[in-house]
């Protein structure tokens, strides 16, 4: 469904000399969705985001937001706001002045700026730190300030460039809950660039997987995870095996691979790795054709019948769990 507030990329292309960073990407981001651009480093996801933000000029194609072509507008007039990877807080300004920077640029007077900044800081639970300098804040707090600074411009689209990568794992999980909460509260579109599939799966309404300057697959998180269309997507999202069978290549989730006796299996192999992971046990099996296949067995089930490294096993699965993928 298209509404006036959607963001659309139309054969968006970015070249650096000969190198193609983004190759004619078309995509439609629906309003109010949490979208994740997911991909390995150098896949073009950051460049795409920076083009949407206006910090990089597209070589070809356009960016359409709310029905208007914004491709050549300056960043602040697009209705987008960006949250930078390193937060890019102004080190010489207090938290409050950082948040209200855009208002100062517009010529809003000081008391009004302070009031607005206070409201924004309240939204991210940082109101008691208004007079601190960024240096005096922890990573997570700095991020909240950066978020408040981006949101004070009332953007229709918030662009987040690897927002969680500078945080420690514990904070990362807390902040991602926070991001999701904010997005739902504000109802605006978030576009979040990440190379972490966990992050994308946890946050995104829609996942856009990029590789080699193009979109490999896009869709709701569950759809992309459960039915990867290409070998790259299956492997990058993790938790999948890509196996070559006589009638083609298929992706199958590791937890859908069952271990049986050699006679009953659809594919034979040898256990080459056993890793206890807490809730489950991860087994690596070398199957026919020198393919490595990972199988996840619930912990209890595995310890009913523990295995030795090197034993021969059979692998079986339900046909419905197989998804044909292109290689």
């Amino acid at each position: 469904m298209t509404t006036g507030q959607d963001l659309e990329l139309v054969s968006l292309t970015k070249r650096y000399g000969e190198a193609l960073a983004v190759d004619s990407v078309d995509h439609h981001f629906r309003k109010g969705q949490y979208a994740c651009l997911l991909g390995p480093s150098g896949c073009g996801k950051s460049t795409t985001l920076r083009m949407i933000a206006g910090h990089e000029d597209p070589s070809e194609g356009s960016i359409v937001l709310g029905g208007a072509d914004v491709s050549w507008l300056p960043p602040a007039r697009r209705g987008t706001a960006m949250m930078f990877q390193s937060y890019a807080l102004f080190p010489h300004l207090s938290v409050s002045d950082n948040v209200s920077f855009s208002l100062k640029m517009k010529g809003v007077d000081a008391p009004e700026r302070r009031k607005k900044a206070g409201e924004m800081l309240e939204l991210v639970h940082m109101d008691q730190y208004a007079d601190r300098l960024p240096d005096q804040l922890s990573g997570g707090q700095q991020q909240r300030v950066a978020l408040a600074r981006a949101l004070i411009t009332n953007p229709q689209v918030l662009l987040l460039d690897e927002p969680l990568s500078a945080l420690d794992p514990f904070l990362r999980i807390r902040m991602r809950t926070e991001l999701k909460r904010l997005q739902q509260e504000l109802g605006i579109t978030f576009i979040h660039v990440t190379h972490s599939q966990d992050e994308a799966l946890a946050l995104a309404d829609e996942i856009v997987v990029m590789n080699n300057a193009v979109i490999e697959q896009a869709g709701p998180a569950r759809e992309v995870f459960n039915a990867p269309k290409t070998e790259f997507v299956a492997r990058f999202l993790g938790g999948h095996n890509v196996i070559a069978l006589p009638h083609g290549h298929f992706a199958i989730r590791s937890d859908k691979v069952a271990l049986t006796s050699t006679a009953e299996g659809r594919l034979g192999g040898q256990v080459i790795g056993i890793e206890y992971q807490g809730a489950y046990v991860l087994l690596t099996i070398r199957a026919a054709g020198d393919q490595e296949i990972a199988a996840i067995v619930p912990e209890e089930k595995y310890f009913e019948n523990p295995m030795q490294q090197g034993v021969d096993v059979g692998l079986s699965w339900d046909d419905s769990a197989l998804h044909p993928v292109s290689v």
Binding site: G54, A76, Q85, A88, P91, F101, K104, M105
Partner: protein, 287 residues
Amino acid sequence: MRNLLKNPHLTGWLLASPLALVLLAFLVLPIAMIVVVSFWGATEFSIYPAFLFDNYEFLFGSPVTYSVFFNTFKYAAITWAFTLVIGFTVAYFLAFHVRTLTWQVALFLLCTIPFWTSNIIRMISWIPFLGRNGLANSTLISWGVIDEPLEWLLFSDFSVILAFVHLYTLFMVVPIFNTMMRIDRSLIEAAYDNGASGFQTLTNVIIPLTKPGIMIGSIFVVTLVMGDFITVRFMSGSQSANVGRLISNDIALLQYPSAAATAVVLLATVLLIIAVLLRFVDIRKEL
């Protein structure tokens, strides 16, 4: 011995001592000496150890001192203003407009080329250029801009300040450039993202973040100009004076106590200026 060396306090003192000794012998002692001599007495033909305030009384009692100090401040202030504007502009261009490191290094080295010759040579080379029948005057006359040679080009305050700016702008460029290179480029983008124009970014982000570099450059330029005597002598054709020339004249007349007293006052003045400058900006981050 082995145990003694393990004592961290002692090791620390030992490590610091060579530099401390050098500074003591070549900085503290000479200054102490100057301070001591400034209280000595002098006649036309001799100087003798004493503890007199004659030199200071004479110094502060003479109107020449005040006009010479005023002149020195004037040179320092005008030179500071010009080197700041030129230095900031050059540093800004190098840091933000030159994209590749190779070009930055190349252009930066280009700025240092004048330093391959001595100060004096660089100064003297202005003379044939600015002289009454020099390049500047003859060019302007041949263009018909002026009818007769401009007298104020050489041996004037103009030529003194021109030479100062020429000599010392690089001392402004280097620290400012250094500070600018440390500014995270995403801050500039963040400013644009928040709707700042180029000029607003300059005044709200770049200049405040460059302040420590500006301050270090200012200290260089101000101390160099305040302490200089040779530039003023050459470029003013001995027609203007600053404190440095006052001291050098006294020394030429073997009036060491008087020279020492002037030097002490100059040193105190410069230290005071630096103290004031440092109150404005914290440069510790740059060191």
